[in-house]
Structures are given as C-alpha cells and as structure tokens.
C-alpha cells in the first residue's frame, strides 16, 4: 500500500484536520482497487500510517461485505436477489449464469476468470434485474443479454 500514500495524503485536503481515522474506509477501498483484495501487509502498513489500532482495521474488514481478504475472479458477477429483482427474474438469471459458468454462487471458475455472487439490493429496482460486473451495473438483464455479456467477457 505504501505507493498509495501520496494519494491518501491528497484525500486529507478536503477532510477535517486531525481526524485521520476517517481515512480507514477510503484507504481500504483504494488498496482493494489496487491489489484486488486486502493483504496482511496492507493492514500492517495502514496501522502504521493512520496510527489506529490493528483490531479496528480487522473489525472493519469483517463487517463490510465489499471488503475482502482473498483474491477473487477477474470478473466478479454479482446478481441482486432482493425483492424487486426477484420479481423480475433474478432467480432465473442466477440459474442460467450458474449453468453457463459451471459454478455455484459464491464460487470462482477454475480458470480464475469469473466469480459468481448473490447480493442484496443494489438500488436498481426500477431497472431490474441487475447484475454488477466489477464496478459496473448492467441493468434490465435477460438470459440472452447475460449470455452475450459472458461471451464478451470471455473474449476480453
């Protein structure tokens, strides 16, 4: 994480002075963006940089569902299975992705390319069903559009 410290320093400019604990989540998010997950050495580095107790970082990491301690597939397919998406076919989407990729939700394909996950409401109920691929929302999905999406990702 040390190479990111200049970026973290820049974030401080618009934050209240002297309250650096505010940076815990922004730093963890940025580290994960950079490495794909949070490694032990990142925690060591952050404890030193922010001068916060190690347990605080560990607690945060086990609390927030978007933060992870292990690498996952190159493409993370997260399918919302909350009320509105289910009302518009989310379970069918999950089944078809599961068949297409040959993995169950929560698993990664053996080639490390895809991870399939079920997630709770993504705030895209009006354009349900929604599938998030890494950072991007793909709205109004159907089995056909997902087939196309997976095929495109396989080629990339």
């Amino acid at each position: 994480m040390r190479h990111l410290i200049p970026e973290f320093e820049k974030l401080k400019e618009r934050l209240p002075k002297g309250l650096d604990s505010t940076l815990v989540l922004p730093c963890l998010r940025r580290i994960q963006e950079d490495r794909g997950y949070i490694a032990d050495e990142d925690i060591d580095g952050l404890v030193e940089y922010l001068d916060v107790p190690r347990i605080q970082i560990e607690e945060v990491l086990t609390f927030y569902s978007m933060l992870r301690r292990k690498p996952i597939g190159r493409f993370h397919l997260q399918v919302c299975h909350n009320v509105s998406c289910t009302m518009r076919g989310a379970e069918r989407m999950i089944d078809s992705l599961s068949r297409r990729l040959g993995v169950q939700p929560g698993q990664t394909t053996p080639d490390g390319r895809f991870t399939l996950s079920r997630v709770e409401c993504l705030g895209s109920c009006g354009t349900a069903p929604v599938v998030m691929v890494n950072e991007r929302y793909h709205e109004l999905q159907s089995e056909e559009s997902l087939e196309q999406l997976v095929a495109e990702l396989e080629r990339s």
Binding site: L11, R14, L15, P16, L19, S21, T22, L23, V24, L25, P26, L28, R29, L50, V52, Q56, E59, V60, F63, Y64, S65, M66, L67, H81, N82, V83, S84, T86, M87, R88, G89, E91, R92, V119, E120, C121, L122, G123, S124, C125, G126, T127, A128, M132, E135, R136, Y137
Partner: protein, 443 residues
C-alpha cells in the same frame, strides 16, 4: 402528470447533470443570494417555516433537527448528506445524484452556511457506480468554479465536501451507524440521547439529512417557504420522489406532489400492472414499511388502497408509511410466503449483530421461512414468527429489527391463509415464484 415539481423540473439530456447546464437553469444563484443577504438563522427559520419533512423514511421535520445546532457556539459542526440508499425498493436519491448532483451540492452549501459547518460529507453507498462518478465530477466542477473551498464567492464562508463511499452495509443508512462508518469503525448504531445534533461525528454537533430532503432546499430558499407550502398538503408540504418497481408496467422514479391520487399514479402515470394482472398488494415505502392489500378490511374502516392519496397522513392513517418512497407493486398470483422469505433473508444478512434480539431473531425467522419453503413447515411456525417479530420491537438500538418485525407481522396478518396452505400442503398456494410472467397464472 403527477403535480408540481421541485426537483425533476428540467429536461434530462446527456449533459443536464453538468455545471454548465445547472448554471443555465439558474443554479448557484440562490447560494449567492443566501451568502450575501442572509444570516445563518434566517436560513434555518425559512427551512422550519417550509415544513419539509425528512425523505429518508422517518419524515422528521428537517428544520427542527437543524434548530438544535447553535451556529455560534464556536464548536466544529458537520453536515452529512445521507446517500446510503439501501432500503430495498428505493432508488430515488440515485436519480438526484445522476441527473442533478449540483442541486444537492448547492443545497448542502446553503445548509452548511446555516449550520456553520466547515466540513461536509456525502455518504454514498459503496456499490453505486454511475451516481458516484457523476457526483464526484460535479464536486470537482464546483470546486473549480469556487463554490467550495476558502472564502466562497467572497463571502468569508469556507466549506469543504468529501464524497465518502460506503462498503456494503445496509445498516449504515441509519444515521449514527453512518457516522461510525465515517469514523473508520464498524457501522454500529448507538443509543440516543445524546442526539447526533448534540454529539455526532467525532462527538461534534452533526446534522444528517437525506439527499432528497436537502435537494429541496435550494428551491425553498429561491422561492420562499410560503411558495413551498402551497405545494402538497397542509401536513405534508412539497413533493415526494417515488421510486416504483415490481410488477408495474413503467417502473422508475417519479416526482409526485403530496396528496396526489394513488390510483391515478399507478394506473395512468405508471401504466398499471404488468400483463393486465390484478393488484394484489403494495409495499408503499421500502420493504420496511407495512404492506397494504388491494382491498383491506383489517383496519378499522375498510378501504380500497387505490382510494388513498400519496402523503404521510393518508399512509399513517392506514397503518403504514410513505417511508423511503420505495414502492413495490405486487400482482395477483404472487406467493407471499416466498416474498417474506426474501425479505427475512435480507434482514438476517444485514443485521449488524450488535443487539441480541435482532442478531438472533432475524436468523431464526429466516430459518423458519427457509424451512416452510422447503415443505417442512410446522403449524406453530406462524405464531412463532409473530412472536419473534414482537419480541424484537423496542428491544434494540436501531430500528432495523423493529421494521423487519412490523413488515413480517403485516404480511402474516394479511396473508395468513397462504402460510397455512404452504405448511399444510408443503407447497405454495400459487407457483411459489415472485416473478410475474405473461400468460396464465404466474408462469
């Protein structure tokens, strides 16, 4: 048309979210007027007078929240825009962030001036991509134009804003939990008192307002509280952004004047129910608000849900609420047991684990629903679910468990026969699906 508009009062184009477009619509003129002509307390008085209620779900008058903060007490104060939009069925704040982020930013500057807040935050939910990118770009535009930073427009007032991204926790939409998250810890809610307006972020007075609530303020300060009061009803002034989804033909975000007819909204503006189905039920304001059935004889006076109007009193009178404005329409033939299962799975997943009744109760209720749906329900399960729900009420720090309980009890009250049927016959009274497909009865 759904009545007069306060927020969605411009044409959405590929560039309507930019500063240039916002300035062309008269944007940031109100900020200039406020900074040059008004004292902080003048702004607060105007917001109190306009009567705008919180749009996050609780409908607490925004002005009364602000009045607790004394802008001259010499302490640091904080203002937070709550954009942690996570209540299932709700996606209206997202509309503001994507299409008119400067309305929020201008309103936040006005609020920060009234509250003497040097530092402000927008706490945006971690998953949002486009809303985050649009908002972050708007913040850079506003800084470059001198609307944020030191000595704004030569007024002597200085203010910074930081867009803080969450990391996937529903409970962080609760204000005290949100502050814990900004402080870099687990998002655990905390007991009140002290109120957040007395001891909030880092123990300093803090106002947390919903994005939509704040986004009304630039309009209010431009046109005056009196004009604002002319919109909506006497007890629910203004408009509501309603995000409608589920079995409805034209889902989306609509700005609806308070007091607007529900039937007109559903059948004309939103195009009615999918595939010409009948209406079975409506969840009016996010899944934590109590479900209403099409024809309801459970409350004192029997009513037709479609005879209701869209304002706080109308919904409170029938035992529900407009909540977060996340309306979910449910067509005839939908399995309510499966619906409750999805809801309880959500609450179980999102319970933060701090209070025993919620941590254990949500898991217990979820497991019961899983069992019923697997055909292994027991007759006593229904009363057990009601018991768990009621036991939770008032025994926890935040409202997550309470709301889950109210929602559970409302569904069981209205559709007890479906639960009995499922347990007795080991299958749904319908096809067990929530999806509504064209043709015959649900698939």
């Amino acid at each position: 048309m759904t009545g007069r508009k306060v927020i969605m009062n411009f044409e959405v184009t590929p560039t309507s979210h930019t500063l240039e477009s916002y300035l062309a619509r008269g944007g940031y003129k109100t900020l200039e007027k406020v900074l040059k002509e008004l004292k902080p307390e003048d702004v607060t008085n105007e917001i109190v007078a306009c009567g705008v209620q919180g749009r996050g779900g609780a409908a607490f008058p925004a002005g009364r929240k602000w009045q607790v903060v004394n802008p001259h007490d010499g302490q640091p104060h904080f203002l937070i825009a709550n954009a942690d939009e996570g209540e299932p069925g709700t996606f209206k704040d997202r509309w503001v962030l994507e299409h008119t982020p400067h309305t929020l930013l201008e309103s936040m500057l006005i609020a920060a001036y009234a509250l003497a807040a040097r530092n402000t935050f927008v706490y945006i939910r971690g998953e949002f991509d486009q809303p985050y990118r649009r908002l972050a770009a708007a913040v850079e535009e506003a800084y470059a134009a001198g609307f944020f930073g030191e000595n704004i427009l030569g007024s002597g007032f200085s203010c910074d804003v930081y867009v803080f991204r969450g990391a996937g926790a529903y409970v962080c939409g609760e204000a005290s939990s949100l502050l814990a998250s900004i402080e870099g810890t687990r998002g655990y809610p905390r007991n009140r008192p002290p109120r957040l307006t007395v001891k909030g972020l880092y123990q300093y007075p803090t106002v947390v307002n919903n994005v939509e609530t704040l986004s009304n303020l630039a309009w209010v300060m431009a046109h005056g509280a009196e004009e604002y009061r002319k919109i909506g009803t006497k007890t629910s002034p203004g408009t509501r952004l309603i995000s409608i989804s589920g079995h409805v033909r034209r889902p989306g975000v609509y700005e609806v004047e308070m007091g607007y007819s529900w039937a007109k909204f559903l059948h004309e503006d939103c195009g009615g129910i999918l595939y010409e189905r009948g209406l079975k039920a409506v969840i009016p304001g996010g899944i934590s608000s109590q479900i209403l059935t099409a024809r309801d004889a459970k409350v004192l006076t029997a009513y037709d849900v479609e005879s209701l109007t869209l304002d706080h009193d109308a919904l409170w009178n029938v035992g529900s609420s407009l909540g977060s404005g996340g309306m979910i329409v449910i067509a005839e033939g939908t399995c309510m047991v499966s619906l409750l299962r999805v809801m309880l799975r959500f609450y179980h997943h999102e319970s933060c684990g701090q209070c025993t009744p919620c941590r254990e109760g949500m898991g217990w209720a979820h497991r019961i629903l899983d069992r019923i749906c697997a055909g292994q329900g027991r007759p006593e399960d229904i009363d057990r679910l009601v018991h768990i729900s009621k036991f939770n009420d008032g025994t926890t720090i935040c409202g997550l468990g309470d709301a889950a309980g109210y929602a559970t009890v409302a569904i069981i009250d209205h559709f007890r026969d479906e639960f009995e049927y499922f347990i007795e016959n080991k299958r749904s009274k319908y096809d067990g699906r929530l999806e509504c497909l064209p043709g015959g009865a649900h698939g």
